[in-house]
Amino acid sequence: MREEVIVRVGAKVLAPFIITFGLYVHFHGDYSPGGGFQAGVILAAAIALLALVYGLDAVQRVVTPRFVRACAALGVIIFAGVGVVTMILGHNYLGYNALAHDPKHGQHYGILGVELGVLVTVFGVMVSVFYLFAGRRGRTQ
């Protein structure tokens, strides 16, 4: 697919919008359908699109396999970390009310925090799995 000009330009134009849409889905998840999980999948889809059009090597130079593997673990740490922070502040594990004076604000920050954890993990996992599947092809040929 490397020589198809329309596909290359189309992917180049679409990718930033897909990534922006993914972030919108994440940060607007409180008000509209969506959240960390869907956003992570959309971001991973943007990476997969670029990898399909420009080749795996080019994309892996920017988003390295090591980085996405770290993301997969980091997300779980962020999620669990929010719970630990609320415990240190004297509330229950994942009791977001601790995070601000106004319980509602605390809930807001807490939800944004754990959704960020979900986003990072899902993004890392999806891209890692995609890399593994796509990378095997190169080894067999």
């Binding site: 959240g35 999948v41 999620f79 719970g83 993990t121």
Partner: protein
Amino acid sequence: MLLTLLAAAGLALLKVRNLFAVVMLAGIYSLLSAGLFTVMDAVDVAFTEAAVGAGISTVLFLGALALCGHHENKPGHTPLLPLVVVLLTGGALVWGTMDMPGFGDPANPIHHHVADHYLEESYSEIGIPNVVTSVLASYRGYDTMGETTVVFAAAVGVMILLAGRLGRRPRPEGKGGSG
């Protein structure tokens, strides 16, 4: 209408032997399911189905296809025994649904355990209009953390299966190399 299309896509999935067509049909099936969820007002579920089922899964299937070829071999056995098993299981499941409360009945127990509280109080307690997000990330935060861990664990499993030689010296050719 959507259910009919869904059934048609499912039957076509069974008949077609070209795996590339199967992957495309599976994507269509997911997209139709997403449409069905939207009709049933489960927009968050529809969103996930469209992104995961019709999006990423299709790409991963295509990646697997590139490894294993485009044609499915004919099965070597007669379909009689599997047919009987499937009919019996399906019949038992349909029989089991007879005891379930009517679909969409507002008096169902599932709508009165904690759902009333979530729908009425979540805005004053959490301050977020999307009840799904409130339930997912706050009321049921433990469950969501478990899910995140499961996703992570699944990825670790795939890595162990597909990238077993990661970080190790590649073995000499012809000696146990599966790639």
